[in-house]
Every structure is written in structure tokens, then in C-alpha cells.
Symmetry: D2
Subunit: 388 residues, 4 copies
């Protein structure tokens, strides 16, 4: 049986990075519903992230998105974060919201557009230098909508060249994380549609290029935990973008659509060393809280990752291995399900209380009055969203 002290230590050590854009407004192509209290500035986003960390104790890092979080003085921003118990995490680039990117960015047929995109990526590395961020997280909206629109192989060549330029610029200890996505906003092809494409580019780039697994970016029926296990075996799992989905890239709260899948993913992570700090797997959220209150939704999401992790850590690996080696299908499955069926909320509450936190972070946040306070205070100005 798992050693409960070790389980508690692992849960205490776990870190979940929250995204600055998760605190801003978001929506679908049909409508963005604004919410009261949404941050107007990157500092207000950090304030919200600090609240999430205050109530959960495991979310000290915040991913930034450039240009949505552009500022004049990144060192000052890092200091602002530090004062609130935070550190600035991955820098996420944006090569999809300029009019010149209508047909792509780093894969665009026009060299001038590619140059512009690469310059932006290099700027992001500059920002990493200033913020002390370790990771450059790259997701490209590049692709085509219609068969024939552009040359698939030509686009790969341009992608490889662009990535290489950026990889060469990385400083000591910095990493390039390459995300893949099956579809959207490109409909016919995306230029990095699956983990295999990301992996092949990372292999060419070098050891500090790693794959990002966004849990909402796969075709129906894909076994995501297989990919996770495979990438861990290859030493190429860089980070998760956690969220969940019923149909497309819904960006719902992680664990809300298929909590069993999240558990299976965390089981592969735990079993294959992915929770060890030296493996350097980053556990990030990448969500859109279109209709629900944002800060409590992020808190809930952090808790969902914790619960899945706790269950994964409770898997009796000795019993599992024995059943697997013995070819006992039902017994092996039962070992896994025993852990999944355990109610880990009391264990996590206990860990929180030992650390001086409230046992139920959502309830504590709602009782704190903070939500009403920011709704009252954050009036006027322009609310942050994907476009700003």
C-alpha cells in the first residue's frame, strides 16, 4: 500500500501554474459575456492569481501571454508578483491576432510575415530573461482552411526554420515547449496537429525542446494518457495545458468532463516519474471560464488536479504490478479503480489544515468577501480579455 506520509509530501510539493488569461473575459465566436470584477490590468490578474494561491497553497506560478500582458517593465512586474508570493511562469506567445497572420505566422508563405512572427518569439525570450521565466510556450494557430490552400511540406520547412531560430536564442536553463492541436482556428490542417509532429520537431531542435500536452487538443477517442506515458519514456514531456472538453477545445474546468481520464493521466505521470521536480514537467491550466465566476473556477480547477493526483498516488503499485505480471485483467483494473473510487477530499482537507489553510478553498474564498470587493472596486477601465 502507498505510504500516506509520502503521498502527503507529494501533494504538498505539487505546483499548479495558473494562466493570466483565465482571469480575464473569454467566450466563443458567438459572444463574450463580461463579468463583474474582471481585472483591467496585468497586475489585477496577478492579484487574482495570488488569491488562488492564498486559498490553495499550491499555485504560486502564473503564465503570461504576450501581448495580452505586455508591460513596460517586466522586472517590476516580477517584483510585483514576488511581493504577492507569486513568480512569473511560462511566457506564451501570440502569433494569431495580428491582421498579417490571416494565412499563418511562422509557416506563412511570405517571408516578411514569418520574420515578424519570429521577431515576436524572440521578444518573448527577452521577456523571459527579464521575468526569470524558464519556459517559452508556443502554440501556433497556423494551418489552412481549404485543401490546396498552401503546401503542407513547405509549411513544415518554414516551421522548422522558424523554430530553429528561436531555439538557438534560448538562454541557459530555458526551454522551448511546443504545443500541438488537431484543429481550430485552422480547419483543414493545422501545422502541428498531433504529438508526433511536435515530437519530431523537438527531436531536431535539441534536448531543451519539449512537447506540451493540452488535454483538449485531440481527436475523439484518443488515449491521452498513452501519449503522456510515451513522452515521459522519451524524456520529452514538457508541460500540460489542463482543461477539459466534451466536444472540441471547450476549455472547461479540468476534470469537469471526464474526471476518470484526468486520474488516468495523473496515474501515468505519477508512475513514470513525472511528479519528480527533476523531470521538470509543468502542470499548467489553460481554461476559459466563459459563464462561471473566474477566480472560484480556477480554485476548483486546482483542486480537481489535486484530487486526481491524490488518487493517482493512492494506487497500490505493488498490487498493480503483481496483477499485471500475472495477467489478471480484472484484478489489475480493480487495483486502479480502488484508488479512483476513494474519496480523497478528507485527505486533502487534512493537508490544507496542516498548512494553515482552510479545508475547503472554494468555500473559504466565497466566504472571504473578496469576490464582492473586486466586483465593487474594479469599475471603469477596460476589462481584460483575449483581445487585450
Amino acid at each position: 500500500m502507498p505510504d500516506i506520509a509520502a503521498v502527503k509530501a507529494a501533494l504538498t510539493a505539487q505546483r499548479i501554474e495558473t494562466p493570466s488569461w483565465g482571469y480575464g473575459n473569454s467566450g466563443t465566436r458567438f459572444k463574450v459575456f463580461a463579468q463583474a470584477g474582471v481585472p483591467r490590468t496585468v497586475r489585477e490578474k496577478l492579484d487574482d492569481a495570488a488569491a488562488v494561491h492564498e486559498f490553495t497553497g499550491v499555485a504560486p506560478q502564473v503564465s503570461l501571454h504576450i501581448p495580452w500582458d505586455r508591460t513596460d517593465d517586466y522586472a517590476a512586474l516580477a517584483a510585483y508578483a514576488k511581493e504577492r508570493g507569486l513568480e512569473l511562469g511560462a511566457i506564451n506567445s501570440n502569433t494569431f491576432q495580428d491582421d498579417s497572420y490571416r494565412l499563418g505566422s511562422v509557416c506563412h508563405p511570405d517571408a516578411a510575415v514569418r520574420r515578424k512572427a519570429v521577431d515576436h518569439l524572440l521578444d518573448c525570450v527577452d521577456i523571459m530573461d527579464a521575468t526569470g521565466s524558464r519556459d517559452l510556450k508556443l502554440w501556433f494557430a497556423d494551418g489552412t482552411n481549404y485543401p490546396g490552400q498552401d503546401d503542407v511540406v513547405g509549411r513544415q520547412d518554414r516551421l522548422a526554420e522558424s523554430l530553429s531560430t528561436v531555439y538557438e536564442r534560448l538562454g541557459e536553463g530555458q526551454r522551448l515547449l511546443l504545443e500541438y492541436k488537431l484543429f481550430e482556428p485552422a480547419f483543414y490542417t493545422t501545422d502541428v496537429p498531433d504529438w508526433g509532429t511536435s515530437y519530431a520537431h523537438c527531436l531536431r531542435l535539441g534536448p531543451r525542446a519539449k512537447v506540451v500536452v493540452d488535454t483538449g487538443h485531440h481527436a475523439p477517442g484518443t488515449n491521452i494518457e498513452f501519449i503522456v506515458a510515451f513522452l515521459l519514456r522519451e524524456g520529452r514531456l514538457g508541460a500540460f495545458d489542463f482543461n477539459s472538453r466534451f466536444y472540441a477545445d471547450d476549455d472547461l474546468m479540468v476534470g469537469s468532463a471526464d474526471p476518470f481520464q484526468l486520474f488516468r493521466i495523473m496515474h501515468e505521470v505519477a508512475k513514470n516519474g513525472g511528479l519528480a521536480p527533476e523531470t521538470r514537467v509543468a502542470f499548467m491550466l489553460d481554461q476559459c471560464h466563459n459563464i462561471e465566476a473566474k477566480v472560484p473556477a480556477v480554485i476548483r480547477s486546482v483542486m480537481n488536479v489535486q484530487e486526481a493526483t491524490a488518487k493517482a498516488l493512492l494506487v497500490d503499485l505493488d498490487a498493480l504490478g503483481a496483477a499485471q505480471r500475472g495477467g489478471d485483467v480484472l484484478a489489475a483494473n480493480a487495483v486502479l479503480m480502488d484508488a479512483y473510487n476513494t474519496d480523497v477530499r478528507p485527505l486533502l482537507a487534512e493537508i490544507r489544515e496542516e498548512r494553515g489553510l482552510a479545508p475547503d478553498p472554494v468555500a473559504a474564498y466565497l466566504a472571504s468577501g473578496r469576490q464582492e470587493r473586486i466586483a465593487a472596486e474594479r469599475v471603469g477601465g477596460e476589462q481584460a480579455g483575449w483581445g487585450a
Copy 2:
């Protein structure tokens, strides 16, 4: 073998309705790329629709979307259309872009919101009276994002009550067309997710309630032509919203992703009487030309429907029936494929030339200089889009 004169007559008689919003800007949740020459007003949208009809000869109807096409005087708008050889088609409602619709419209838990939504739908019927439109086309963004968010059955009750109020208001010869959609913008459930749900509500409402088949609104693997055939058998196929998709509701040009599927759909339509005017099936486009030039994309889409229809009309139904009755799988399939593999472009060019049209409408449009003219003229003001 099909009688070519009858084929030509059917192709000449076919009408394809274009959507006013297809001429405006559109995009994904990530970015709307503006294009030069896009209409600023509903009248300019009609001008574009008139150009499509001028070059194709088969697109005299234009669907309106309220409030995007709101105007003070619908009778004047209808007159404006008539002067350009057009008539105003289906009125499309919008119950998804007001802040009060965050949790739904006609299915919202709050009766006041439902009343607001129903009032809008009744307004749309008033507009139909003014424009002479036959069809009220209803698509609801209603649904939920999270399990438990609302009561599925309660929402059906509210939906049924709302639809009933609207149906009762319809005038002589007016129809209610109810669209279904598996997902987006609601992710966990939509309130009319499939044809069965729409069909069941239509049965309750009465004979003038019909189902709309949007070709992008199904789960992967769904056989759309089966649904079309089934609804024709039941007398409940009201209209198509044509477009095409690779993954989700991509809203690409109809026939661009799977032209064989479009042919199979038109084969069921043609074989089961759906081209006969008395069946009153409306053939509408519902597309988003996010990255391609809009007017030529609509022309191309009209042509794609024509080509699929021509192939469907060329199916040798006698030979097909004989092979089917004889259980000859390969022969029956071959009869269908023979028609599909036929190049019908010369036939359609011939029909156009007999009507005094250019044989290649896209080439003719591009050669006309109109695109450059509207790009030069339509400067200033605010371009039309989904939000305006």
C-alpha cells in the same frame, strides 16, 4: 438514363438562398480578420447578394438575421431587394448575443429572460409580415457547459412552451424551422442537439413546424443523408443550412470538405421529391468566409450545390433500382458512382449560356472589376459582422 432536358429544367429551376451574414466579417474566437470591401449596411449586403444572383442566376433569395439586419422600414428594404432582382428570405433570430442570455434564452431558468427571448421571436414574425418572408428559422445557442448546471427536462419544458407561443403567432403560409446542433457555444448539452429532438418538438407544434438540417451540426460519423431521407419520408424537412466542416462547425464553403457527402445528400433529396417546389425544402447557405474573399466564395458555394445537384439528377434511377432490387451491391454502388464521377461543369456552363450568363461565374465575377470597385468604394463606416 435520365432525361437531359428534365435535368436541365430542374437545374434551371433550383433556387439557393444566400445569407446576409455571409457577406460580412466573421472569424473564430481567436480573431476576426477584416476584409476590404465588406458591406457596412444591410443594403450593401443585398448589393453583394444581387451580384451573386447576377452571375449565377439561381440565388434570388437572401436570408436576414435580426438584429444584425435590423432596419426601420422592412417594406422599404423588401422594395430595395426587389429592385435588384432579389426577395427577402428566411428571418433568422438571434437570442445569444445579449448579456441576459448567458445561461440561455427560451430555456433560461428565469421567466423574464424567456419572455424577452420570445418577444424577440415574435418581433421576427412581425418582420416576416413586413418582408413577406415565409420562414422563421430558429437556432438556439441554449444549453449548458457543466453537468448539473441546469435541469435538462426543465429546459425542454420551457423550450416547448416558448416554441408553442411563437408557433401560434405564425400567419397564413408561414413556417417555423427548428435547427439542431450537437455543440457550440454550449459544450455539455445543447437544448436541441439532434434531429430527433427537433422532430419531436415539431410533431407537437403542428404541420408548419419543420426541421432544419445544418450540414455542420452533427457528431463525427453521422450519416446526414439518412436523416435527410428520413425527414423527407416524414414530411418534416424544412430547409438546409449548407456549409462544410472537417472537425466541428467549421462553416466552410459547402462541398469543400466532402463533396461526395454533398452529392449523397442531394441524391436523397432528388430521389425523394425534395427538389419539387411543393415540398418546400429551402436550400440555404450558412457559411463563414473567414479568410477567403466573400462574394466569390458565395458564388463558388452556389456552384458547388449546383454541381452536386446535377450529379444527383444524373443518377440512373432505373438502373439503380434494378441493381438494388437484385441485391447486386457492386452494381448499385457503381450506378451511383458513375453519376458522381461525371464532370458536370460543361452541362452547367451550357445551361448558364442558354440563360445568357457567363459559363464560369467566378471567373466572370473576378473579371468584372466589381471586387476592386467595392473595395475602393466601401471605405469608412463600420463593416458588418456577427456583432453588428
Copy 3:
């Protein structure tokens, strides 16, 4: 909060019907792996079913499949069942394993084949009369593999006529349950692909025709619990065929692929009256234990349904309704998740012990030595499988 006594009463009253074919050999098109101890006769299948009921206490009914379970004297078989504490449940027809059914059965273009199929269905009703079974469960492998192979509407006409003949033959209190399936073994179209098709036929047939929801028969992304809720609202949910799937119709143990989905389904059942005996919803398993031991797999499956039901019964409907009416997305979701995250195994163990059963049925079965006994005794003869 739910009344625990009522929860326990509902769990005690619940009945889960097991399928005779689940005890026999099964496999994929690639290979059927035989297992030691598999029944050779229908009576041995009933012995296995009796063992499942002995250890779970909630599985007294057994579905039969004709001709796999054909016998000379059904009354004697019913008596044999009764002696073991069982009763014979739904009669499942088979119109797919005769060479004449290559192109379909009740939808076949040849009237002689249709007559043969209908005669088989009428025989099944005769068997129901003899066994006292309430339900005729119909799943048709009918469909086409290639576009054009047969006439979709013609097949519907033949289906309707065949069903009508069978419906007319039903005796007092007997029901016709019509299953739907998106694909397999027909690949291009099946003749009853979705709930809408089944529902439309049931409406025409009459009040004793109901829809069967097999949880493995939907397109990816389908919200099954929506369908369940909708059919309950319409009074047309006849039965479940429970199993689970990752990709196609995998027929895995129910709850093993997506336990949260199973919970959501049972939540809709419980909330909408589906557990009340007068609603007459039959909860059946329809699974294939291709590689795992069969009797313990059926016991596990019964327990999985019980656990999902228990969680569904623990949903605090008052709190849920209040959150839903108040439009509090996070709170409503949290109420549902609180029930789902509860470990209900202790509650079910308690119920079992109160009834004199072992708290862990799988462990008790394995400890009983029965599996070794049947493996030793059931030697020689021909093991039961899908073909026999």
C-alpha cells in the same frame, strides 16, 4: 439532503438483468479466445446467472437470445430458472446470423427474406408467452455498406411494415423494445441508427413500443444522458443495454471506460422517475467479456451500476434545484460532483450485509471456489458463444 433510508430502499429494490450471452465466449472479428469453465448449455448459463444473483442479490432476471438459447421446452427452462431464484427476462431476437441475411432481414429487398425474419420475431413472441417474458428486444443488423446499395426510404417502409406485424402480435402486458445503433455490422447506414429513428417508429406503433438505449451505440461526443432524460420525458424509455466503450461498440464492463458518464445517466434516471417500478425501465447488461473472466466480470458490472445509482441517489436535489434556479453554475455543478466524489462502497457493503450477503461480491465469489469448480466440471462438449 437525501434520506439515507430511502436511498437504501431504492438500492435494495433495484434490479439489473444479465444477458445469457455474457456468460459464453465472445471476441472480435480477429479472434475468440475460449475460457475454461464457460457454459455448454443454456442451463449452465442460468447457473452462472444464478451465481451472479447469489452474490449480488439484485440480478434475478436473465435475458435470452434466440436461437443461441433455443430449447425444446421453454416452460421447463423457466421452471429451471425459478428453482435457482431466477426469472427469464427479455427475449432477444437474432436476424443476422443466417446466410439469407447478408443484405438485411426485416429491411431486405426480397419479401421472402423479410417474411423469414418476421416469422422469427413472431416465434420470439411465442417464446415470451411460454417464458412469461415481458419484453421483446429488437436489434437489427440491417443496413448497407456502400452508398447506393439499397434505397434508404424503401428500407424504412419495409422496417415499418415488419415492426407493425410484430407489434400486432404482442399479448397483454408485452412490450416491443427497439434498439438503435450508429454502425456495425453495417458500415454506411444502419436502418435504425439513432434514438430519433427508433422513437419515430415507436410513436407509429403504439404505447407499448419503447426505445432501448445501448450505451455503446452512439457517435463520439453524443450526450447520452440527454437522450435518456428526453425519452423519460416522452414516456418512451424502455430499457438500457449497459456496457462501455472507448471507441466503437467495445462492449466492455459498464462503467469501466467512463464512470462519470454512467453516473450522469443514472442521475437523469433517478431524477426523472426512471427508478420507479411503474416506469418499467429495464436495466440490462449487454457486454462481451472477451479477455476477462466472465462471471466475476458480470458481478463487477452489476456493482458498477449499483455504485453509479447510489451516487445518483445521493445527489442533493433540493440544493441542486436551488443552485440551478439561481443560475449559480459552479454551485450547481458542485452539488452534482459532491455526490459523484462520495465513496459509496461502504454504503453498498452495509446494504449487502443487512441482506445477509458478503460485503464484497467479487471477493466472495473468488473465495467460494466456484470458478475453479466449473472450470474442472465443464469439460468436453461445445462451449457457448455467439454462434451457438
Copy 4:
């Protein structure tokens, strides 16, 4: 514009390999329908393949499947083939039909089972030496049905070791082709689920390890032609297993479900050098003619590949490149569609007649009386199928 002489030369040079098992009986898990005239022996399978080559002129190779095509003297079999104008193609292994493979073969937890499987693969290489076959084609049914059943990473380790042993045994000029498949017969994980997994193993093995793309083995929504283009860019596309599917691995006639997809695949092949003999891409069929006559279905399939290839060769690459470089989405798409919409049947008929073949191979085969002859002659004995 493409040079017609070059197009004709390429079409004349193209070779399509047919599978010995395509001539035998096949079916689904529900039923195998036997057909009159089906071969009883491997030599009769070769006779059928010779007929396909006789009427099409482009199908001289035949893939063998061991043990279904096991014989005492492979050299004699090769001579038999040669007398009929054929040569023996890829050797396909079978590690899924022995009872010991219930939990896998080369990935099985038991070393003895793995050894057995590897020994079979080494036997296949011996057979290649005897037949002169170039390619060892490996598809593994290995995988798991339930979460926890076995260790994903452990199975990869075993797979890698097994593959390495086989790769080392390959002789001069021999290749190892590794197929991937998302699902079936394993449901939870397969051990080579996607191209990325196959590619990663091939990279480790060496330059003579290549990926096989079976067109029916992907998740819904996958862009297969992207994978094809990517693998050609990497020099790792070994072969196609052509067939088509609507839902799962339906193994229908290639081009029958989505002929436009087949064209897009062949477009990437043609544009990226895949038709050049030195690229050594093998174009194989892998189909199941469950309900249609087998020899004419194979002929039709060969013709479907030819038609897609012809259309691909007719793409005006100069015009396409110009439109792509210019960012003209509609024009680039139109260039592709112009080729697709061309009726290439007259061109292929012309090529056949120039080679002394009948212009319509299916019609010529049916008129030849051969089908009736084999139906009359091949009576008695045991028909070949997947199990024999």
C-alpha cells in the same frame, strides 16, 4: 498544365499490390457470409490475383499473410506466381490468432509468449528470403482493454526489444514496415496507436524501418494526407494499406467512402515524390469484401486508386504554387478542385486500350464468365478465410 504523356507514363508505371486475404471470406464479429467461388488454397488465391492483374495490368504483386498462406515450399509458390505474371509481395505476420496471445504478443508480460511471437516474425523473414519479398509488414493486435490492465511503458519496452531483434535479422534490401492503429481488437490502448509511435520506433530501429499508413486506422477528424506528407518529408513512409471507412476500421473498398480524401492523399504522394520508384512506397490494398463479390471488388478498388492517382497527376502544380505563394485561398483551392472534378475515366480507358486491355476492367471481368466458372469449379474443400 501537366504533361499528359508524363501523366500517362506515371499511371502506366504505377503498381498496386493486392492482399491474398482479400480473396477469402471475411466478416464482422457478428457473421462471416460465405461466397461461392472463394479460393480454398493459396494457389487459388493467386489465381484470383492473376485475374485482377490480367484485367487491370497494374496489380502484379500479392501480399501474403502467414499462417493463412502457409505452405511447404515457398520457392515453389513463388514459381507458381511467376507463371501467372505475379510476384509475391509483402509478408504479413499474424500474432493475434493463437490462444497464447490473449493479452498480447510482442508486448505480452510473459517472456515466453513474446519469444513465441518473435520466433514467428523471424520465420516470416525466412519466408521472405524464400519468396524474394522485400517487405515484412507488422501489425500488432497488442494492447489492453481496461485501464490498469498492463503497464503502458513496460509494453513499449518489450515492443522495442522485440522489434529490434527482428530488425537485426533483416537481410540486404529487406524492410520492416510498422503499422499503427488507434483501436480494435484492443479497446483501451493499442501499443502502436498512431503514426508518432510507429515513427519513434522506426527512428530507433534504423533506416530500413518505415511506417505503414492504413487509411482506416485513424481517429475521426484526422487529416491523413498531412501524415502522408510529413512521413514523405521525413523519408519514413513505407507503404499504404488502402481501404475506406465510415466509422471504424470498416475495410471497405478504397475510395468508396471518401473519394476526395483518397485524391488528397494521392496529391500529397504525387507532389512529394511518393510515386517515384526510388522512394519505394508500396501501394497495397487491405480490404474485406464481406458482402460484395470479391474479385470484381478488388478490380474496382484498383481502379479507384488509379482514378485518384490520375486526378492527382492532373493537378496544375505551377498554377497551384503560384496561387499558394500569392495567398489566394480560393484560387489555390480551385486549382486542386479542377483536377478532382475532372472525369479521368476516359484517360484511363485510353491507357488500358493502348496496352491491349479492355477499357472497363470490371465489365470485362464480368463478361469473361470467369466468376461463374470459379463458382462452379471451387466446390468442396474448405474456403479460405481469416482463420485458415
